[in-house]
């Protein structure tokens, strides 16, 4: 994505320009949001089936008249554009509506899932970075050496393994055979009776398998990217200078090369932000984790329109914000961008 700052007459971009830029980007979110939600709303309604069809159908106790009456109560008998406009008018008041499946406020349903999804995703991200970056560095420092070759094979094996298969195998091994780890869920049955540290330990214990499975596939991408960037950085002229000056090797690698190699990683961080509030329905179903992925999937299956729209809005806002943060972060971290020349 190209970055376009409008600077002042001076060489550098000052704080006033940044604020200006940010405000303009934020304002730009609004028309994008309307466009995306409009298209999404109509596309969702293109799918055949209504919430009332699925909930009550083929239950001989629920007659046709009852279903028609339920449709009216949900407002589904009004024309599409009216339904969209009434949804939009409620949205600007931050009223996301009520879920069709149990009439609870949509925001409540999403918010109660966010802590878990966020925790898992953030921890996942941290772990991936903590493991992949050192692998990438070490591989780059001695390219095609023993470490590099074996690490490459290993991360690609992990990348290729289907995560649900791996999950079940590990659940069987560590859960059933060895009885070291719990099989599913996020809390033990007697969670409420544990003290604070007990609760923390219980949660950690439950998160070990899910985190392991979710991180393992992603190591390949980041570590290869890191390796590439490091090798780039180590080829730069200033590295020769540093070595010629007599600097110890670890300073050359960590103080000079690494800092430059990390710059593109900032972009990746920014682009990962929308993903923080996403979840995999397969993963969450397997481990019985009450996360956002399952919520969204079930909402789509049940044609729970208010819930689907709310999740799309949140996803859109996060994507756009994430892009913005990535751009700003890059500008802050890379001095070259701050100078107009």
């Amino acid at each position: 994505m190209s970055v376009n700052f409008v600077g002042q007459i001076n060489d550098t971009i000052g704080p006033a320009d940044m604020v200006n830029y940010i405000l303009r980007r934020l304002l730009g979110v609004i028309p994008m949001l309307i466009g995306i939600t409009l298209i999404s709303f109509f596309v969702i309604h293109l799918a055949p089936g209504k919430p009332t069809t699925i909930q009550q159908s083929l239950n001989p106790k629920v007659s046709l008249e009852v279903r028609e009456r339920l449709e009216k109560l949900y407002g589904l008998d009004k024309p599409l554009h009216i339904q969209y406009l009434s949804w939009l008018s409620r949205l600007v008041r931050f009223d996301f509506g009520r879920s069709f499946s149990d009439d609870r406020p949509v925001l409540d349903k999403i918010l109660e899932r966010i802590p878990l999804t966020l925790t898992i995703n953030i921890l996942s991200l941290v772990l991936i970075f903590l493991v992949a970056i050192p692998i990438g560095i070490r591989s780059a420092v001695k390219p095609n050496g023993l470490f590099d070759k074996s690490a490459t094979v290993l991360v690609f094996i992990f990348f290729a393994l289907p995560s649900f298969w791996l999950a079940l195998l590990l659940m069987n091994l560590f859960g059933v055979q060895l009885r070291w780890l719990p099989i599913s869920g996020i809390k033990s049955l007697d969670f409420e009776y544990l003290g604070f540290w007990g609760k923390l330990a219980d949660l950690t214990w439950h998160l070990i398998l899910p985190l392991f499975v979710s991180c393992i596939g992603a190591l390949a991408g980041l570590s290869r990217y890191m390796r590439q960037n490091m090798m780039e950085a180590l080829r730069q002229p200033y590295i020769y200078t540093a070595r010629a000056k007599g600097l110890p090797e670890h300073k050359v690698v960590y103080k000079h090369a690494l800092r430059n190699a990390l710059l593109p990683v900032v972009t990746i961080l920014g682009l990962s932000i929308p993903g923080l509030l996403g979840g995999s329905v397969i993963f969450e179903s397997l481990f019985a984790l009450p996360g956002i992925g399952r919520l969204f999937y079930e909402a789509v299956m049940m044609r729970d329109y208010p819930l689907i729209m709310a999740e799309l809005v949140i996803g859109t806002v996060l994507t756009l914000l994430g892009n913005l943060l990535a751009d700003i972060g890059y500008a802050c971290v890379d001095p070259r961008i701050r100078y107009k020349k």
Binding site: I54, N59, P60, S184, G185
Partner: protein, 533 residues
């Protein structure tokens, strides 16, 4: 001064001690918890709003209806002590139990029943169950414990409809039922009190000390949501859940290890439903009854039972299950007879004129597509077996699998199908008016095959008006015979209900209705109790 009963003076001391000790050992212990595994979470705990299994499982523990089914599948009183049927079935008078308390201490009265009834017929309440209650012409509270319900015309299935959970008027009269917080924190009259609900994780109930029948022995009922079947089975292997359903494969092949034999008991009980292949009776090919009968001869149902259910079920002979009193024992399923199938088809005008292996008639080949819903392995396998057998007599059947909501809204509701494989989960009352009466063929109604038989129509109407079970049974026996003979469906099988329960639970007594009917009498000996507290 304590007087030893004189009889005990005559018995030797060791015997007395022995009797005393065995008396102690045979007494049931209170305590422990049962952990149920479920694929889905409940949706709402307002009993008249929810139609999914998970919600009904929970509300069934927290609430009572006026009537319920006993172990022999006969209607018996729950909150109603007794009832009288008057005026040829137009009026039912319920005499309610006294001294029943809501779980918050408030007394239960007829006004709660009236309140529940008014909400059931309220057009602004999103309840799917209003149908049966709209047939009531008047509802009168005679006194705090007597109710008089009058129907527009005699309606015998109406009696069982009063198994609907009764809701507390004093807590809900000012609430909007659709949105009330009561749906997340219910209070009922039933054996278990709601304690907590962590969405998509677990629901916990504790036993109600003042339950009008008796305090349940098991102290806690825990409902764990585990959406993946493989994970659920793994949890079973670590005793993380105490009870769950099993597939035929799991029942026969995967639960015979020493671990399972020691820790769990398996149950194979009759289920109350059947699977069938329905024909669109407005389609030219299926209008002729001889064609449908031929197809019935061409498919070996025992083969389907063997392969799909591994033998754990029975062949279905009509719209009733063997446990129902409406079932006609004299209706026997036709044997597998492909020769007879070919003869009948020939009679109906289907011959292989161009020798390509497929039957023809008037230039049209006998080809059709059967649809079924995604996610049901058993129906898909049944379809494939039927496909093979029909190919052998010259019929080309294709199988199409569709996502559930598309399946319902685009194909079933709009009658855009040739044949369909589906199942019915039946209510205990045998009234199948909604499925087979010729008036129920509008879009969205359940006679989507388009069955129209004036004699069956008359019998269905009659069956709903009679209250005496013996006379009603005669009517339904006739319906069973007529429908099987006409074959609007190819009736396939009645699957068995397979489940597993941790062996520490005592007091289980399998009966025609299943094992859950006496749940409040299940108990765990102190020494084996797993969940203290």
């Amino acid at each position: 001064m304590y007087q030893v009963p004189s009889i005990m003076k005559k018995l030797p001391i060791p015997l007395v001690v022995f009797l005393f000790l065995t008396g102690m050992a045979l007494a049931e212990d209170y305590g422990d918890a049962i952990v149920m595994g479920s694929i889905g979470d409940a949706r709402t705990l307002v009993p008249i709003l929810a139609s999914d299994t998970a919600s009904s499982d929970i509300t069934g523990m927290v609430f009572n209806g006026l009537v319920k089914y006993d172990k022999d599948i006969k209607l018996t009183g729950d909150l109603a002590q007794s009832w009288e049927i008057k005026d040829g079935g137009l009026t039912i008078i319920f005499h309610l139990r006294r001294n029943v308390l809501w779980q918050d201490g408030h007394p239960f009265t007829a006004h709660d029943v009236e309140f529940t009834y008014l909400k059931l017929i309220d057009p602004d309440v999103k309840t799917p169950y209003s149908g049966d209650f709209e047939r009531v012409s008047s509802f009168e509270v005679i006194d705090d414990h007597t109710i008089k319900v009058t129907y527009k015309e005699p309606f015998s299935p109406g009696l069982s409809s009063w198994g609907m959970s009764i809701m507390p008027k004093h807590l809900l009269e000012k609430e909007d039922l659709n949105k009330t917080d009561f749906g997340r924190h219910p209070i009922g009259t039933g054996p278990y009190v709601f304690k907590s609900w962590r969405s998509q994780e677990k629901i916990e109930l504790t036993s109600y000390k003042d339950y009008f029948e008796a305090q349940p022995y098991i102290s806690r009922y825990i409902f764990r949501v585990i959406p993946d079947e493989s994970t659920l089975f793994l949890e079973l292997q670590t005793e993380g859940v105490d009870s769950t359903g099993l597939t035929p494969l799991q029942y026969l092949r995967q639960t015979d290890t020493p671990f399972f034999k020691e820790k769990y008991r398996k149950f194979r009980l009759p289920s109350f439903g059947y699977t069938y292949m329905g024909y669109n009776l407005n389609d030219e090919k299926f209008k002729d009854a001889r064609v449908r009968k031929a197809l019935n001869y061409a498919v070996d149902k025992n083969e389907i039972l063997r392969i799909v259910l591994l033998g754990l079920g029975r062949v279905c002979t009509g719209p009733f299950v063997p446990e129902s009193w409406a079932y006609n024992k004299d209706v026997i399923a036709e044997e597998y007879n492909p020769q007879k199938a070919r003869e009948l088809l020939k009679e109906a005008g289907w011959k292989d004129i161009d020798n390509d292996g497929i039957l023809d008639k008037n230039g049209m080949k006998f080809e059709f597509t059967v649809i079924t819903n995604q996610g049901n392995e058993e129906r898909l396998k049944s379809a494939q077996i039927i496909q093979k057998r029909l190919k052998e007599i010259g019929i080309n059947m294709k199988v199409k699998v569709l996502e559930w909501s598309v399946f319902l809204s685009e194909y079933i509701d709009k009658r855009k199908f040739e044949a369909v494989i589906l199942g019915w989960a039946l209510a205990r009352d045998p009234d199948c008016y909604d499925i087979f009466h010729s008036s129920k063929t509008r879009e969205g109604e359940f006679n989507f095959v388009g069955y129209n038989n004036p004699e069956v129509d008359r019998l269905l109407e009659e069956g709903r008006r009679i209250f005496e079970e013996d006379k009603r049974a005669e009517v339904y026996h006739k319906i069973h015979r007529l429908i099987y003979d006409e074959q609007p469906y190819m009736f396939l099988y009645v699957p068995d209900s397979l489940s597993v329960l941790h062996s520490r639970f005592r007091g289980i007594q399998p009966a025609p209705i299943g094992i859950g009917y006496n749940f409040i009498k299940w108990w765990v000996p102190l020494s084996e109790q797993k969940y203290k507290k």
